[in-house]
């Protein structure tokens, strides 16, 4: 009797242990399978424009003319690639000094005020949906640029402005963490030598945290590069290389957003759009790779 109870108990907890292991393993397997199939599907679809439709790499990556309905149809994606890079780089350039200053303010200058006002402000910015950024960009920034500069106000400048605010929270939080993690002895050593705060920041703090600060910049840029709707709303969507920052153009994401729904799955134009998605995906790999590399440097 006692023994049979013992036996039943053994079975019960072994089954329980097994349930837990199987359930959690299944979850992780599902996650891994999802990631692999995502990469697989986007890659195969993305390559089909080269393989099935026989478009050359040179035409897509070197062509400056996007005329899918033309005779013959032209699929030069260079304007989109240039549009994506210029908006995201410009956004990072605007946002980097702002975010680093914000982090310095919160960690070094006025931690109390920073925590009370700046921190919540930045957390809130992080929570605002991208379509809202797009909407505000369209109703405030675009008219503003239209009044000041020649052109319609739409374009790279408007896109970068909107994006720079969007990526501010990412960059700021990483910069803040990096600065806060600095050993106190480092700064004290500098102050002990009679350096002013700015000298300490410029000569000791910023150089030491540079890899981490760069990580934030790259992550911000990655987010800007992949953002679709907010950019699409303010970029103008003309498929050509612009002559100024205030002239309508397109990005990879805006081209996909705009045309994917209007093309037939399997058509040449549709396949080329998937190639654009493939470029986005490959750039994600590049960004993750750079971030990992920077993190290794930061930990050294």
């Amino acid at each position: 009797m006692a023994q049979s109870r013992e036996k039943r108990k053994i079975k019960q907890h072994i089954i329980e242990e097994w349930t837990g292991k199987v359930f959690t393993s299944l979850c992780i397997v599902l996650l891994v399978v999802t990631i692999f199939s995502l990469v697989y599907f986007v890659a195969t679809k993305g390559f089909s424009s080269f393989i099935k439709d026989g478009i050359s790499f040179g035409e897509i990556f070197g062509g400056t003319k996007w005329k899918p309905d033309g005779e013959p149809p032209l699929f030069g994606a260079l304007p989109f690639i240039i549009g994506s890079f210029s908006t995201s780089i410009l956004a990072a350039l605007i946002s980097a000094p702002l975010s680093i200053c914000a982090a310095l303010f919160m960690v070094e200058i006025m931690p109390k005020v920073g925590r009370k006002f700046l921190q919540p402000a930045i957390e809130l910015l992080a929570g605002i949906p991208s379509v809202v950024y797009g909407f505000v960009g369209l109703s405030v920034i675009v008219p503003l640029y239209r009044d000041i500069f020649p052109g319609q106000g739409l374009g790279i400048a408007a896109g970068a402005s909107v994006l720079s605010v969007m990526i501010l929270p990412t960059m700021t939080s990483i910069a803040t963490d990096a600065l806060a993690a600095l050993p106190p002895g480092l700064k004290e050593g500098s102050y002990a030598l009679g350096a002013t705060r700015w000298q300490t920041l410029a000569r000791t703090v910023i150089p030491t945290t540079l890899p981490a600060l760069m990580t934030g910049v790259v992550l911000g840029m990655a987010r800007a590069f992949g953002e679709a709707l907010a950019v699409q709303m303010v970029i103008g969507n003309a498929p050509h290389i612009p002559h100024s920052l205030f002239e309508s153009t397109s990005t990879l994401t805006s081209a996909i957003t705009l045309s994917m729904g209007n093309t037939v799955m399997g058509s040449t134009q549709n396949n080329v759009l998937w190639t654009l998605a493939l470029i986005l995906m490959l750039m994600t790999f590049v960004f993750v790779f750079i971030v990992r590399w920077l993190e290794r440097r930061a930990n050294r």
Partner: protein, 252 residues
């Protein structure tokens, strides 16, 4: 001959390349307190944690040798550690009650082991608290959080929690070192009480405590067992020079 509850044979523990415990063979008798003493880092805690396979949790820890309970070598990968750990209670240096009520802290284990009857559980809770000398202080507030107790009370609760699943062996890893002197004395009284029922193995860095509570003492140094014997003899007339040095406070 005394009844041997637990015995190790050539027990070694490796952390990666480093050997923390070196081929220890020791017998632990039932209804007796054995103290493991030695300077910090001597491997006594690591040895203790091997006895209920707690070192399994540490990545890279490797344990060789044999640990016998009855006719079973429990240092076997096939051993069911869940069942094993029901037979061996454990108390840590810092009290670690669950973030639950006092009642739940004690009822949690027995309920898991199949006791669903509320009356029976009430009875176990009461008996365990009485054995741990905590009943009088807590009987009116069993539903309050265990974290509302003082440090010494929390430690006695942890002891009550471990005896609630009716083990035969209790491992204690410096159970009184994080407590004030009064609470510490209470724990020692409790150990003296508990040894009438359990085989107790206690790691301590407090020489006086070892002398007060234990029948047998084992002295560890750099992962090796230097000397083992009756506590009274160890503290008055140790046979090894190193034991003498340690006990008389020349190092450690």
């Amino acid at each position: 001959m005394q009844n041997i509850e637990l015995a190790t044979k050539d027990l070694s523990v490796f952390y990666g390349e480093k050997q923390a415990v070196k081929e220890i063979s020791l017998d632990f008798a039932a209804r007796q307190v054995t103290a493991l003493i030695g300077p910090s880092g001597c491997g006594k805690s690591t040895f203790l944690r091997s006895l209920n396979r707690m070192n399994d949790l540490i990545d890279g820890a490797q344990i060789t040798g044999e640990i016998w309970i009855g006719d079973e070598n429990i240092n076997d990968p096939k051993t069911d550690v869940v069942l094993l750990r029901q037979k061996i209670g454990m108390v840590w240096q810092r009290p670690n009650p669950f973030h639950k009520s006092i009642y739940e802290n004690i009822a949690f284990g027995p309920r898991y082991h199949g006791i669903r009857d509320k009356k029976k559980l009430d009875q176990i809770v009461e008996e365990s608290l009485i054995k741990a000398a905590l009943w009088e202080e807590t009987k009116d507030r069993l539903n309050r959080s265990a974290l509302s107790l003082s440090g010494g009370q929390q430690q006695r609760l942890c002891i009550a929690r471990s005896i609630a699943v009716s083990p035969s062996i209790i491992l204690m890893d410096e159970p009184a070192s994080a407590l004030d002197p009064v609470s510490s004395a209470k724990i020692e009284e409790l150990i003296a009480e508990l040894k009438r029922e359990y085989c107790i193995i206690i790691v301590t860095h407090n020489m006086h405590q070892a002398a007060r509570v234990s029948e047998k003492t084992a002295f560890f140094l750099m992962g090796e067992l230097v000397e083992y014997g009756d506590t009274s003899k160890m503290f008055t007339n140790p046979s090894d020079k190193r034991t003498d040095d340690y006990i008389s406070g020349r190092f450690g």
